[in-house]
Symmetry: C2
Subunit: 270 residues, 2 copies
Amino acid sequence: MFDRLATPGDRAQPTGHVTSLHPSDTRPAGSFQCTASDVLRWTGLGADASAATEGIRFGLRRVLAEQTLVHEGQHFENLYLVVAGSFKHVQIDLEGYEQVLGFAIHGDMLGLDGLGRDQHTCGAMALEDATVAVMPFAELQSLGHRLPALERLLHRATGTELLRRADTQYLMSAPSSEVRVARFLLQLSQRQRALGHSDRRLRLVMTRRDIASYLGVAHETVSRALTALVHEGCIAVAHRDIEIVDDAALRELQRLTRGRLPHDPRELVA
Amino acid sequence: MFDRLATPGDRAQPTGHVTSLHPSDTRPAGSFQCTASDVLRWTGLGADASAATEGIRFGLRRVLAEQTLVHEGQHFENLYLVVAGSFKHVQIDLEGYEQVLGFAIHGDMLGLDGLGRDQHTCGAMALEDATVAVMPFAELQSLGHRLPALERLLHRATGTELLRRADTQYLMSAPSSEVRVARFLLQLSQRQRALGHSDRRLRLVMTRRDIASYLGVAHETVSRALTALVHEGCIAVAHRDIEIVDDAALRELQRLTRGRLPHDPRELVA
DNA sequence: CGAATCTTTGAACTGAGTCAATTAAAGTGG
DNA sequence: CCACTTTAATTGACTCAGTTCAAAGATTCG
């Protein structure tokens, strides 16, 4: 379903010090690059890495919290792979309101909305200090002609992005805000697990407003839904740290969909 | 711009004879194929057509109304380009409810969600009798290595799909159902215009239920919103034919977003 | 012509948005 | 390092829009 990143084996040291990911690295300290093999590993395609991909270098770029990596309307030139930190995908609507379209974490690709056209339609802003691998699209494309692994990387990334959007639509189609929030938390949990992190302890790196925009509800509603879930014993909330206490209950709740009555009284224990 | 396909006139004989699109065609009558040049033209990349693309053939496949072209979980092998008719993208959720993720019409690509993986996650069902061009992905990929036009086709299609999903999220994030429906109509209108059809007269090829699922509201609400828009003089509704009477009013209404009060009394004339 | 589905409309209830106020956290500057 | 400011988060009260249930038209199809 949400197959995310890779085999449990290759995501090793998740997002630590980027340069430290390559202990045997002989590059000068200031170079700040990574190899195509790294990129493949981070996207779950480690098996496709080879000597050839080992020789290809991509620049790394640091992005401070709140900084915009991709501006709306910006010329499309590069794709970015999130190496560390996290981002939100945003689009400003006619009124100037910011619509959050999704969140990107380690292993996710940014800038795909520019594919096939000359400028980006969505922006990407760092939620915390982050690092991305910069992959010039033209370069990636020509490399892909000779290295199937890199072509596969692009296809995999776009397919994943499409899948995630479908997931988001499913999430937003929930009639109840509590269900939306529950699904959101389960989504986060699943992505954390796919990266080899704990799927019980979540750190919300985004504000409640961001979540609210993403879910299409008022930000007060997010707060209320979270406290409701706490009272039901599903989760524990401390600031931006969330612990999933009763995974089964959360999953059960999340299934509640339009048209279904709670004929099972267990759900109303409150 | 685009070949004129499927105007209200030839709907009775749904997809017409596709081969008739090429009057100078010398292929045998039964071949039922199209060229890569056709595909490029239909996707708006006609400028990239060349003698080389003219020699590449793709099979055409007819799909009857209500028939499923792509099943959820089906092995990913082909991409499909909608040549005539229309489709809905669907996903069945845990309860067995069908979630409509989007609609595809002439020039749209189907099956992109399988990119980078071995099976489809979303299904595609014909809303009316339809015709698609079948493009085996492996073939398209290898052709793309020598013909940049075909590679561009794939990128363009994925980018377009991503953009459309963002549009859908924007649509679903509207707090009021009336606004959602208004945005939906404007979306349809825009796509019709892009195809060179009238952007005033819309034929809804999907049921209210489909629209409701797509918008994340109850199907009764879609009905109510439509009649409300009629009373406001924005549109005229006859069965599944909709005419956009007051485009400006519809656009104004669609702008209404969370947090804004109708301080302009003009909006409440009802 | 009748069966099935689609669509519209009505009425009641409730959940979510809005407004408002309080508390908590984080960043600023003396 | 601590007042001070700003932003984020929670909670409450009220209102209304949308869901749900129910039923009656309309349309399509066999």
